[in-house]
C-alpha cells in the first residue's frame, strides 16, 4: 500500500525508511560480531577444544563432621596460589565454633587455621564444638560479579567465578558485595583476589589443592554434570545445607552436618 505523494520527487515511504535504517544497522553489527568471533581464534590450543568448559559444572561438598581442623587446606591453598602469608589473607580458612553450656557461641580462626588450633583456654563447659571450613561458594548468582563496574570478575561456563587481574581496577566493590567475605585485596598485585577452585588444576583433571591434601576427605570435589562424580554422590547421600540460603545466591559449596550457628 504505497501512497504516492505528489510534487515531491522523493517516493520513499516511512516503511522504506525504516527498512533502510534497519538494514544499515545490521550491516554494521553483523560484520562486527563476525570479526569479533573469528578474531579470537587461536586464544588457546586446548581450552575450548580439548577441554570444553560447557560440559562441566564444578561444585564442592564439605562434610563438617569430618574436619579435624588441621589447616592443611589453608596451607596448601596459600602455597598453590601464592596467597600472601602476611597480612593474614586467605582464600579458604577454617573456623572453630564453640558453644558453651550457657548457650554462648564463640567463633575463632587464628591465622585462618593455617598453623592448626591450640586447645581453647576457656574453662567454660562446652556444649558442643566443631570446625567449619570456609571457601568461596562459587554462587550461581554471584553478587560480586553483578557489581563489578568493568567486567573484571565473571562466571565461566563451568561455573567458577574468576578474577581478571589485568583488568581489575581495584575498586573493592566486589569485596563489599560478597556476603561470605571470600574476597580480599592482594597487597602486592593491588587487585582483588579470591578462590578459583584452583581453576588451573581442575581444567587439567586434578583436584583443587585444598581437596587434594585434606587428610580426612572432609572436602569433596566434583563435576555436577558427570553422574559418576563424588560430589553427586555427596549431594545424594547427605542432607545438604548452603550458607545464607536466604540471600538467593545459590552457592555451589554444599555442607553436610552443618549447625544452625554457622553463618
Amino acid at each position: 500500500m504505497r501512497k504516492e505523494r505528489p510534487g515531491n520527487g522523493h517516493d520513499q515511504s516511512r516503511r522504506d525508511f525504516c527498512r533502510t535504517i534497519l538494514l544499515g544497522t545490521l550491516s554494521l553489527v553483523v560484520p562486527g560480531s563476525v570479526i569479533g568471533a573469528t578474531g579470537t581464534k587461536g586464544l588457546s590450543d586446548w581450552y575450548g577444544t580439548k577441554y570444553k568448559p560447557k560440559e562441566h559444572l564444578y561444585a564442592m561438598g564439605i562434610k563438617v563432621d569430618r574436619c579435624i581442623g588441621c589447616g592443611r587446606c589453608v596451607d596448601a591453598c596459600k602455597r598453590e596460589n601464592n596467597v600472601p602469608d602476611y597480612p593474614f589473607y586467605t582464600r579458604t580458612w577454617i573456623e572453630r565454633y564453640i558453644t558453651t553450656e550457657e548457650g554462648q557461641t564463640i567463633v575463632d580462626s587464628p591465622n585462618g587455621g593455617k598453623d592448626g588450633f591450640k586447645a581453647q583456654v576457656s574453662d567454660k563447659k562446652l556444649l558442643k564444638t566443631y570446625f567449619v571450613p570456609k571457601i568461596c561458594n562459587q554462587c550461581h548468582k554471584p553478587p560480586c560479579v553483578q557489581v563489578c563496574p568493568v567486567g573484571a570478575t565473571y562466571k565461566t561456563d563451568d561455573g567458577v567465578i574468576l578474577v581478571d587481574p589485568e583488568y581489575c581496577i581495584g575498586c573493592r566493590y566486589c569485596i563489599q558485595a560478597c556476603p561470605y567475605g571470600m574476597r580480599y585485596f592482594h597487597p602486592k598485585t593491588r587487585v582483588v583476589d579470591k578462590c578459583t577452585f584452583c581453576y588451573h588444576r581442575i581444567v587439567k583433571g586434578l583436584l583443587p589443592a585444598c581437596v587434594e591434601v585434606c587428610p580426612t576427605q572432609a572436602r569433596v570435589f566434583g563435576d555436577l554434570k558427570s553422574k559418576a562424580s563424588p560430589v553427586i554422590q555427596f549431594v545424594r547421600f547427605n542432607k545438604i545445607f548452603v550458607l545464607k540460603p536466604d540471600l538467593n545466591t545459590e552457592p555451589k559449596v554444599y555442607y553436610a552436618d552443618l549447625d544452625m550457628e554457622v553463618r
Binding site: 520527487g9 522523493h10 554494521l28 569479533g36 568471533a37 579470537t40 586464544l43 588457546s44 581450552y47 577441554y51 568448559p53 563432621d65 569430618r66 574436619c67 579435624i68 581442623g69 588441621c70 589447616g71 592443611r72 596448601a76 602455597r79 598453590e80 596460589n81 572453630r96 565454633y97 564453640i98 598453623d115 592448626g116 588450633f117 586447645a119 581453647q120 562446652l126 564444638t129 566443631y130 570446625f131 567486567g151 573484571a152 565473571y154 562466571k155 565461566t156 561456563d157 574468576l162 581478571d164 589485568e166 583488568y167 578459583t196 581453576y199 588451573h200 588444576r201 581444567v203 587439567k204 586434578l206 583436584l207 589443592a209 587434594e212 591434601v213 585434606c214 587428610p215 580426612t216 576427605q217
Partner: protein, 246 residues
C-alpha cells in the same frame, strides 16, 4: 544519488556517520582483545587463569616411582591421606627429582597438627595429649607414618575415645568399665569401623542398676521403669557418659 538527498538530511548524515566511525574506532581502542566473546569479560583472562603453574602434583603421579610406599599406605590408616599433605607440594619434584626434594618433617609437631587432642575434633579421630604421650620421643620412633599402626594395639578405650573418657571420668559413671554397657568385639581394636561395639538397646538394660528392686548398691538412684520417662529411652534424656548432666 547524493544530490537527490535533500540538503537538510545531508547535513545531518555527515556528522552522524562521523560519530559512528569515531565511536567504532574509540570502542576498538578501549575495549580489550576478546572482551565480550564469551560474556562480559576478557576471554583471554580465562586462559590465563587456566594456565597458571602447578605446585601440587596430585597423588597419582607419586605412585609411579614410590610404589612400595603406596602399597604400604594402601591398607593403613593413612590410606586417605595424600602424599603431599605431609610432604608438601611436589610438582617441581616430578619435573626434576634431583634438584627438588619434597619436605620430610620428622618433628613431633608435624604429626600433632592433626593428632593433638582438641575437643572440637570429631569423636573417634585418633588423638593424643602430647604432654603425656611419650613427650621425649619422636612419633616415628614407634609409628611408621605410611602405616601408622600403633606398636601395640591400644589397651584402653581412652586411647581413641579420649573425649568420652574425659567426660566419663568426672561423672557418676566414672567407675564403670566401658564393657559394662558396651559389648566390644575382639577385632574392634584392630579394625574399629569394621567391628563397631554394641550399645545398650533397652530401658531394662539401664534398669539392671536403676530399676526399683534391683540388686545393685543402695546409693544408686532408682526409678520406677513403668512410670518414669514414659515412651522415651533412658539415653534420650540422660547422657550415659555424664548422666547427671541433663
Amino acid at each position: 544519488m547524493w544530490k537527490r538527498i535533500p540538503e537538510q538530511i545531508r547535513h545531518i548524515v555527515v556528522p552522524a556517520v562521523a560519530l559512528v566511525v569515531i565511536y567504532l574506532v574509540v570502542r576498538q581502542l578501549l575495549i580489550p582483545y576478546g572482551f565480550g566473546l564469551w560474556g562480559h569479560y576478557r576471554a583471554p583472562s580465562v586462559i590465563q587463569n587456566a594456565e597458571l603453574s602447578l605446585k601440587y602434583a596430585g597423588g597419582e603421579v607419586c605412585i609411579d616411582c614410590h610404589s612400595e610406599i603406596a602399597l604400604a599406605k594402601k591398607t593403613g590408616y593413612h590410606r586417605g591421606v595424600a602424599c603431599e599433605t605431609c610432604h608438601g607440594p611436589a610438582y617441581a619434584h616430578t619435573q626434576d627429582q634431583e634438584k627438588h626434594k619434597p619436605q620430610i618433617n620428622r618433628a613431633r609437631q608435624a604429626c600433632l597438627i592433626c593428632h593433638e587432642y582438641l575437643p572440637s575434633r570429631p569423636t573417634g579421630f585418633p588423638q593424643v595429649v602430647a604432654d603425656s604421650h611419650n613427650p621425649l620421643k619422636q612419633c616415628i620412633a614407634c609409628h611408621r607414618p605410611h602405616d601408622p599402626k600403633p606398636p601395640t594395639p591400644p589397651k584402653g578405650c581412652e586411647a581413641c575415645h579420649a573425649s568420652i573418657q574425659r567426660t566419663l571420668s568426672v561423672s557418676h559413671h566414672g567407675n564403670l568399665k566401658c564393657t559394662t554397657c558396651h559389648e566390644v568385639p575382639k577385632d574392634h581394636r584392630f579394625s574399629p569401623r569394621g567391628n563397631p561395639p554394641k550399645k545398650l538397646q533397652t530401658r531394662e538394660a539401664c534398669g539392671t542398676c536403676h530399676a526399683k528392686g534391683s540388686a545393685a548398691a543402695k546409693d544408686i538412684p532408682r526409678v520406677d521403669l513403668e512410670s518414669h520417662g514414659g515412651k522415651y529411652l533412658c539415653w534420650e534424656c540422660h547422657y550415659p557418659h555424664m548422666p547427671e548432666a541433663r
